[in-house]
């Protein structure tokens, strides 16, 4: 009988976030991080962007993307701190900070996304 464990679930969230980050982030970074601010490409008009973001489907999708990417970060960063910096002693604290941060971020995402819908 398999015990109910959170580790596999965290790993699944991490993986899902990893896939989404790999597929969606490169283009988003290029567009919103560089091309639009630097004027390589004319930024979309506010109305257009508002319309796109305000569409419930987009908002829902973005919520998923943000939440999972944060889960991805939380999981990876937690191990990076354990292994990379050998912060074994403060295991509990790191866990709380990482996953807590991800949960908090997800809540904030929901609130912010709700403001545009």
């Amino acid at each position: 009988m398999t015990k109910r464990r959170v580790e596999p679930i965290l790993w699944l969230l991490f993986s899902a976030g990893g896939v989404l980050a790999a597929v969606f982030l490169p283009v988003l970074v290029v567009l919103f991080g560089l091309a639009f601010p630097l004027g390589w490409v004319t930024p979309p008009s506010h109305d257009h962007l508002h319309a796109v973001l305000g569409h419930p489907l987009t908002a829902l999708f973005l919520f998923g993307l943000f939440a999972l990417c944060l889960a991805h970060w939380a999981h990876r960063f937690r191990y990076t701190l354990y292994d990379g910096l050998q912060l074994k002693g403060s295991k509990g604290l790191i866990t709380v900070l990482c996953y807590g941060g991800a949960v908090l971020g997800s809540v904030v995402s929901a609130v912010v996304l709700a403001t545009v819908v």
Binding site: F24, P26, D47, L62, W73, G105
Partner: protein, 133 residues
């Protein structure tokens, strides 16, 4: 059951905090893991963008201006590098982590990797179309 006992006198080489600098492959690994920080940063960045858009055109424009300030640009350049590193390593590892079968045949690794890049291209094209339409 094994009867070997660990010798108290055995020498244990301590692991240095900087172990990930000892080898190129370890370093790449450490950078790959570090990419997650930039993933998180960009989520924050996108949230700020969304927030600005929700607050009206003025806020949106000033967000764009802020995003054009040198340190933000540099940060996002670095973010791009790390996100690409994440993408490449993730795609490369996928065939190792999963076995995909088509009509009983194991799909070769290169095909899995290639199909991910096709997916990437489609998604990117769609996103560009959606926001610049």
């Amino acid at each position: 059951m094994s009867e070997t006992e660990v010798q108290p006198r055995a020498y244990r080489r301590p692991v240095s905090t900087w172990w990930w600098l000892e080898k190129r492959s370890y370093f790449v690994f450490a950078m790959r893991e570090l990419s997650s920080v930039f993933v998180a940063w960009f989520v924050v960045f996108l949230l700020m963008l969304t927030y600005a858009v929700g607050r009206g055109d003025d806020q949106y424009q000033s967000f764009l201006d802020w995003a054009a300030t040198p340190w933000v640009v540099v940060l996002n350049l670095v973010t791009l590098v790390f996100v690409v590193l994440h993408m490449v390593t993730w795609f490369n590892l996928t065939p190792q982590a999963t076995v995909v079968r088509l009509r009983g045949q194991r799909v070769p690794a290169w095909a899995i990797i290639a199909s991910q890049y096709v997916g990437l291209a489609v998604v990117s094209a769609f996103v560009i179309w959606l926001v610049t339409r």
